[in-house]
């Protein structure tokens, strides 16, 4: 049972009864309802194959829903119209032939805005992700974590209102992932952008997000929504707190129910 949208906030973007069939007959999504609040850090959590990435691609406009609708708020529509969406893939997805600087400049270059001011913006955003001094490096000269930072910098350079992240840290080791988690939270607090973060890690979703939408598979839909109302800033102390452990336990239970709901439709 998809939860009804709560009253009292105007969603930045809302998915209404969205369904998606692939040409090979797979029903990836059915009856997906999700309302994204402006400024929130929303995690999409679910077992693999539950359509998390498909939902994200539909929001990004990279994929068309077969049924249902996507509604943008006035603000969100403006963002969508101006392409002020940032997207971070699971892989860093950098152009290997271009320097870090040129990779981050790419979105501005496509918009025909590669001017002197653009160079300053690139420098500023590289600074923000902790890559000052690496502008002239090529992607292959960087570690996996640093490449992901470049990818995040590229998504942030257009100052997006909505940042979509598709399991961005799944391929990284734990030490790197924790460091990027903390840095991402700091950037989010500074930039006040809205983030939708797809993950299959309970711990990551609880640590990062202000709200978790747990998805059930076959077909993909939102099974439950959980508020993680611990105030920000969160740091290492939160990771080891009893509160964190309780949220993780609760989320794991819901995730188990969602997975079971998918297995026996």
């Amino acid at each position: 049972m998809p939860p009804a949208p709560e009253p009292g906030f105007a969603p930045l973007v809302a998915l209404r009864d969205v369904g998606k069939d692939f040409p090979n007959g797979t029903r990836a999504l059915a009856g997906l309802n999700l309302a994204v609040r402006p400024g929130e850090f929303l995690a999409l959590l679910g077992p693999s194959g539950c359509g998390k990435s498909t939902a994200l691609r539909i929001i990004a406009g990279l994929s068309e829903p077969t049924e249902g609708a996507i509604e943008w708020s006035q603000d969100g529509a403006a963002a969508n119209g101006a392409n002020r969406i940032g997207f971070v893939f699971q892989e860093p997805t950098l152009m290997p032939w271009a320097t870090v600087f040129d990779n981050v400049l790419l979105p501005l270059k496509i918009k025909g805005a590669a001017t002197g001011a653009a160079a300053e913006r690139v420098a500023a955003v590289l600074d923000r992700v902790g890559l000052r001094g690496f502008a002239a490096s090529y992607p292959r000269e960087l570690s996996g974590g640093m490449r992901m930072r470049v990818s995040i910098a590229r998504a942030l350079v257009t100052e997006p209102q909505l940042l979509l992240m598709d399991e961005p840290f799944a391929a990284l080791d734990e030490i790197t992932r924790f460091a990027l988690n903390d840095d991402l939270l700091r950037m989010w607090e500074a930039l006040r952008t809205t983030i939708i973060f797809v993950t299959h890690s309970v711990f990551e979703s609880v640590y990062l997000s202000s709200r978790i939408a747990v998805m059930a598979p076959r077909p993909g839909r939102v099974f439950a929504e959980l508020a993680i109302d611990t105030p920000y800033p969160r740091d290492r102390n939160f990771r080891t707190s009893a509160e964190y452990a309780a949220f993780c336990r609760r989320t794991s239970e819901v995730l188990a129910q969602a997975t079971a709901a998918g297995v026996a439709p």
Binding site: N83, I85, F89, T93, M95, W97, L106, K109, I110
Partner: protein, 273 residues
């Protein structure tokens, strides 16, 4: 512990390199020595098999004539190569932009490729002026690897990167220029490396087909002409020049390949330990 082991490894690497350069030279020296001795001891006449020393002498004495011919052949090769590069990449881009054009023309590109050039050359010589015919032969032989490789490269673009360009609303021209062509560059350069040698072959085949009928003066023409005059040492000398030209072309294109890709592509990176 580490330093001595590294030193041993370095020494082993050095020996490896010495062997790789030294052994082929040793083999060449042995073959030339046996050849020279066999000709001298056996008293083989030079119109049957000239000794290496005589070939070298001929190369020097006929140097003016042969180097002029070499320049003619090289000019044809270069023109054919440039046309093949432009034609191959251009057609591949056209195919990439329009399925209809690809469906219409691709089979004929394959036909041009699989029909032996030796069989086409005499026909071309009937319809085209000689220089144009020779050039066309060089082009036909060389353009297909460029076309096939570039097509492969344009189709091997990272899907996520393509999505990213879509997300930011890139135009077709931007996708082509900023994404498809750079992605395809390693493939294009691979095709050009093959095309370099092939355009030399195409030029030589066409010159030979033109043979005595033509007023040509390229190296292959010299070989045919020397054959008629039983000037076998000059045939060998011309052949040697052709081989050297082919080797130089190959390594020149390899160098271009390395310089263009050394910063980012796996194929051009030094092995890391």
């Amino acid at each position: 512990m580490k330093a001595p082991r590294a030193a041993v490894r370095d020494r082993r690497g050095q020996r490896e390199r010495t062997l790789r350069v030294g052994l082929p030279i040793l083999v060449l020296a042995i073959v030339l020595a046996v050849w020279e001795l066999a000709v001298r001891i056996g008293g083989i006449p030079s119109y049957v098999l000239p000794a290496p020393s005589l070939i070298l002498q001929t190369l020097i004495s006929d140097g003016g004539l042969l180097s002029q011919s070499l320049l003619v052949t090289l000019a044809t090769t270069l023109e054919g190569f440039l046309l093949a590069a432009a034609g191959g990449v251009g057609l591949a881009v056209l195919f990439n932009q329009s399925r209809l054009v690809e469906y219409s023309l691709y089979p004929y590109a394959v036909v041009l490729q699989v029909t032996p050039i030796v069989a086409i050359a005499p026909l071309l010589l009937i319809y085209l002026p000689q220089h144009a015919a020779v050039l066309f032969c060089a082009w036909i032989v060389a353009f297909f690897p460029v076309l096939a490789n570039t097509t492969l490269g344009l189709n091997s673009v990272d899907r996520n990167l393509a999505d990213l360009f879509t997300l930011y609303g890139a135009s077709r021209g931007q996708v082509l220029w900023y994404l498809n062509l750079p992605s395809a560059l390693p493939y294009i350069l691979g095709g050009l490396r093959i095309a370099g040698g092939l355009s030399l072959i195409g030029a030589v085949v066409a010159e030979i087909a033109a043979g005595s009928a033509g007023a040509g003066s390229g190296l292959a023409y010299r070989i045919v002409e020397s054959g008629y005059r039983l000037n076998i040492p000059r045939m060998f000398a011309a052949l040697l020049l052709l081989s050297i030209a082919g080797i130089v072309i190959f390594y020149a294109l390899s160098l271009v390949n390395y310089l263009a890709l050394r910063r980012w592509h796996e194929s051009a990176l030094a092995a890391e330990r």
